[in-house]
Amino acid sequence: MIGDKTEQQFIDEVKTVFDQNVEQIDAETVSRLNNIRNIALDTAPGKSRHWILYPAGAFAAAGLAIIIFNVIQHDVSTATIKAEDIEIISAIDGLDFYENLEFYRWLEEYETST
């Protein structure tokens, strides 16, 4: 019972349990810890690792700008096509005019040449 022990006895026991537990850490965990240590050792003193974020951030911003530009362009061209479609459909001349476009172009060229 803990109640029967002095505070120092309790602390000593807790420390012993912790020390034994640390000694029993498995090989795989130790291997990962060694790996982490080596990564840390390759960190330059006094240098922030955040510099890596600057080019990455710039690259991401550029990519985002391109995507937004393309979307806007796409929207504009889509909007234009839709307007043209409406114009064609609602034209007084009707669809026959557009089906004979080649003929009208030839006629225009012929009249210009003569």
């Binding site: 420390k15 912790f18 640390v22 850490i25 810890l33 990564i39 840390a40 050792l41 960190t43 330059a44």
Partner: protein, 196 residues
Amino acid sequence: MQYDVLRTYTTSTRERPLEQRQELDQFLGSVQKRAFRMAEIATGNREDAFDILQDAMCRFVEKYSTRNFAEWMPLFHTVLQNRIRDWYRREVVRNRFRVWFGQSADEQDTNSLENLADGRGRSPEQQLQSRQGMEVLDQAIRQLPVRQQQAFMLRVFEGMDVTQTAKAMSCTTGSVKTHYSRAIHTLREKLDGHWP
């Protein structure tokens, strides 16, 4: 002049003087297991503990490796404890989101000693006999407020005195005494009947 420029250049990354690298390697090697276990106890999550330790080691090497060797231990623990505190802050935010999305805090609570004993169908005595003694202690420590955890682990596990602990925790010695005293009192209460 040229030598100074060359020396400045060679102190970066892998070209750091071999002697200093060896000292750092020895120091980090000597603290890594205990630091990992402390982070694991604090978080209750193995992978989070690895992340915290890596972050703490990198930060320590980056910021403090040029400092006097005698300062390394308290400085390393200062960095480690700060990382653990950051983890707690993030956890608080995550838990708020969990509550918002309908999971109650009770459903999340798997930390109580009762749950541990019931979940495995063993009495606390059997747990202790089968090398699980630390698990009972883990759970009890994890239930403490973070500042009490830190004070307890630094004082008991690392054997730091009150002043060193205060430096590592970035608080006053009075606060350390209060946190430590409360932690001991709570642990004795919680472990009573679960401890050999």
